[in-house]
């Protein structure tokens, strides 16, 4: 059933029931003349009708917009009615009540203090037991901290390494290996090490750069066979996938905080809040023409942490 039909049937029923109620117990003359009572009565009647409509619409299978509109009228009618009732027909004062500036009662406070000190002295006389109690409770308190440790694994070296290993084939999210010859110029592909397509920290961008565009750092000349470069896809700022590649400028953009990385310069950050280049994955091409890794990334991937320099 269409939305319009549900709405028509629902509202029609609501109005009909409300009208029936109105004619059955119509307002006494003296009330109808008093504008405020009439207004409040109409508000409640409107609410009543809307609730009936809501029930019918729900029973017909429901429809979000109609439900929202009917709830608005049903609840809103109650609101208008009650607020008007309070403001127009109930005593509005002004009433005046006394209050204290502050709550202090010097005598009571003194008594309370005395009672406390008296009790504390009884404890204080047993200073040996007091110290033992403190030690025992303290030790228990420390023991109670251990469940916190159970919440997660120790960080260990987990942040310093990924699933990439020497000889690991680069595969797509669907697990398909990547043939170097199949990559078109300026194409970008997200890859994982084979068997680890769920390893978030290993996501890597393969970019086939146009010849002569990419300038490898010294010592990394053999990391980009056939001008295919691999960089960690995790932004070094706050860890979002660096999802956008602009071929014209050979730049990578992170859509989260607008960091920009220049691919020809080794994915150095050139704009935005990122402070560190995207780590480069040393690539090679195996005998079957598939892209593989020479090793893991030379440094931790992703957002920095206090000791990330100690890799």
């Amino acid at each position: 059933m269409g939305r319009a039909r549900k709405l028509l049937i629902g509202i029609g029923t609501g109005v009909a029931v409300a009208l029936a109620m109105l004619t059955r117990r119509h307002m006494p003359e003296e009330h109808a003349r008093r504008g405020s009572v009439a207004a409040i009565g109409w508000a409640f009647l409107l609410s009543f009708g809307a609730s009936v409509s809501l029930t019918v619409i729900y029973a017909l299978g429901g429809q979000p917009q109609a439900e929202g509109a009917m709830l608005f009228v049903a609840l809103g009618g109650l609101s208008v009615g009650l607020v008007l009732w309070s403001h127009l027909l109930m005593p509005q004062g002004i009433y005046v009540e006394e209050r204290k500036l502050t709550f202090d009662e010097p005598e009571e406070m003194e008594e309370a203090e005395e009672a406390f000190v008296e009790g504390a002295e009884q404890i204080g006389r047993r200073s040996f037991l007091g110290k033992m109690l403190a030690a025992a409770v303290g030790a228990l308190g420390i023991a109670f901290l251990f469940p916190i440790r159970s919440l997660g694994k120790a960080p260990g070296r987990a942040l310093f390494q990924t699933a990439w290993k020497a000889g690991a084939r680069a595969v797509t999210e669907d697990g398909l290996p990547v043939r170097a010859a199949s990559l078109l110029e300026n194409s970008v592909l997200t890859v994982f090490p084979e068997g680890h397509t769920d390893a978030a920290d290993s996501q890597t961008l393969l970019i086939k750069t146009p010849p002569g565009v990419f300038h490898p750092r010294s010592g990394r000349e053999d990391w980009s066979p056939d001008d295919i470069v691999g960089f960690s896809k995790i932004c070094t700022h706050a860890g979002c996938p660096v999802g956008l590649y602009q071929a014209a400028t050979s730049q990578l953009f992170c859509p989260c905080h607008q960091s920009v990385f220049s691919v020809p310069e080794g994915c150095k950050p050139i704009n935005g809040p990122a402070t560190r280049a995207l780590p480069q994955l040393p690539l090679a091409i195996d005998g079957d023409g598939f892209v593989i890794a020479q090793s893991d990334f030379p440094e931790p991937v992703g957002p920095e942490f206090w000791n990330f320099g100690r890799h």
Binding site: Y58, L71, K233, G239
Partner: protein, 456 residues
């Protein structure tokens, strides 16, 4: 008759008639600006009611399955049970979508009402002795509300919320010395762990709501005990309360307000689409949505992250990563300042006395100016949270927008604060009853102008 008998029944056993009598006759001051706290309270009631319904259907599990539900474009896609159940309760459960959207809108309104309420308290000096405790309770409620808003929209395991969680993990990671451990303990391991959704769920539906309920109780009990503040004038003093009685006038009006809040929230929930997770798609570790903005109340943090320059600190072998400054230090200082404000202010003004009369913003030009400057600061940060959208609207590079906002975040608060100080000083010195009635001469020389007229 039934009522009388049941009242007697309870009173014979518990002895409540004295308290009840005082309660029913309690006098409440009335002013439109006092409603924001109530709106927050009633938005919370709507949150609990809709939240209970949603919890009947949501499955906080990361077990994956192929989606075969009612939303055709997603059929055949591998989704987590959490994301799938959120789709199902939106499309297959009758009234489910209205409930979900009303819940989300209620969260946005809840926090907005708290923030406006906080501004009201601040600019009228309602935090002064004896109400410091309630200021602190209220601030803690704000923090809990922000946190629960974030845990709530992070539950659904869609691509947008997954991105938010990833950023939260990176922020935890950036804390010096403790960060790696904190991130691993909170998330149960390296991101994305398989435990985060179930932990978020329990936190979101049990731990934080319980804390919020407990603190709301304290908040209201303190208001009850200390009695509400009131504006000066018409015979109102520090030693009386002018207003309407709790029963029946105030209670009826307040219940009416509850229905009003609920009606607006359900209207939004029915008609205004919010957080359409089926458009974002399920979370995938290597995917990201853009443009991506968090819910409004985290916009200032998002903006700070985007705007903060590419700086980090290296001392010896220790790095303090970039996100630490905008996303840990800034909120830390923000809330420290807010918590400390009642103490700071009385230290600097020397006013250690108790007050029940409120101040008008122009009674305290310095406080008002500082408050407005702070608000301006957070508004600029909020804008920076959408620097990509602003760049798109104006057809400018993002870098330009960011630089304008970096300058703006310093200049705008100073200018706004100064202008406010100027206007409020003139208003105060003129003694005018309304701002629009302040003679222009006072604005030319706000501090040396004509002699003040009779003050109230």
């Amino acid at each position: 008759m039934v009522i009388k008998r049941s009242v007697e029944w309870v009173d014979e056993r518990v002895g409540v008639s004295g308290f009840t009598h005082d309660t029913l006759n309690k006098v409440f001051p009335d002013h439109w600006s006092f409603l924001f706290g109530e709106i927050a309270l009633y938005a919370f009631v709507v949150l609990v009611a809709t939240g209970i319904f949603l919890a009947m259907f949501f499955n906080p599990s990361l077990a994956t399955k192929i989606y075969h539900g009612a939303y055709a474009p997603m059929r055949g896609v591998r989704v987590s049970a959490a994301y799938g159940s959120a789709l199902d309760l939106s499309f297959s459960v009758r009234a489910g979508l209205v409930m979900r959207q009303t819940h989300h809108w209620a969260a946005l309104v809840f926090i907005a009402a708290i923030v406006v309420h906080l501004c009201r308290i601040f600019f009228t000096g309602a935090f002064r002795k004896p109400r410091e405790i309630n200021w602190w309770v209220g601030l803690t409620l704000l923090i809990l509300a922000l946190f629960n808003g974030f845990t709530g929209y992070s539950l659904l395991d869609d691509l947008l919320s997954g991105t938010g969680l990833r950023i939260a993990y990176s922020i935890a990671l950036s804390i010096p010395f403790l960060g790696t451990w904190m991130a691993f303990l909170l998330f149960g391991g390296e991101f994305p762990s398989d435990q985060i959704i179930s932990r978020l769920f329990f936190t979101h539906v049990f731990i934080v709501p319980l804390l919020i309920i407990a603190l709301i109780s304290v908040h209201l009990a303190l208001i009850w005990r200390q009695k509400h503040t009131q504006f000066p004038g018409g015979g109102r003093t520090d030693r009386n309360v002018h207003g309407i009685r709790f029963w029946p006038s105030y209670a009826t009006e307040s219940v009416g307000l509850f229905f009003g809040v609920a009606s607006v929230l359900t209207l939004l929930g029915g008609l205004a689409q919010i957080n359409p997770i089926w458009l974002y798609g399920p979370f995938r570790v290597a995917n990201v949505t853009g443009p991506a903005q968090p819910d409004w109340y985290l916009g200032w943090l998002e903006g700070a992250l985007r705007m903060f320059p590419a700086w980090e600190v290296r001392i010896g072998g220790v790095v303090i990563p970039n996100p630490f400054f905008p996303a840990v230090l800034l909120p830390g200082i923000t809330f420290m300042m807010l918590y400390a404000w009642p103490l700071l202010e009385r230290r600097f003004t020397g006013d250690y006395a108790a007050h029940h009369l409120l101040e008008r913003p122009h009674d305290r030009p310095v406080r008002t100016a500082l408050g407005v400057a702070a608000l301006a600061f957070y508004v600029v940060l909020f804008l920076a949270g959408s620097n990509d959208l602003i760049a798109k609207w104006f057809g400018m590079p993002v870098e330009t927008v960011t630089w304008v906002l970096r300058i703006g975040v310093i200049v705008v608060p100073v200018v706004a604060g100064y202008v406010m100080y100027w206007l409020m000083s003139a208003y105060r010195r003129s003694g005018a009853s309304q701002f629009t009635k302040v003679p222009l001469a006072y604005f030319r020389h706000p501090r040396r102008g004509p002699l003040p007229r009779a003050r109230i």
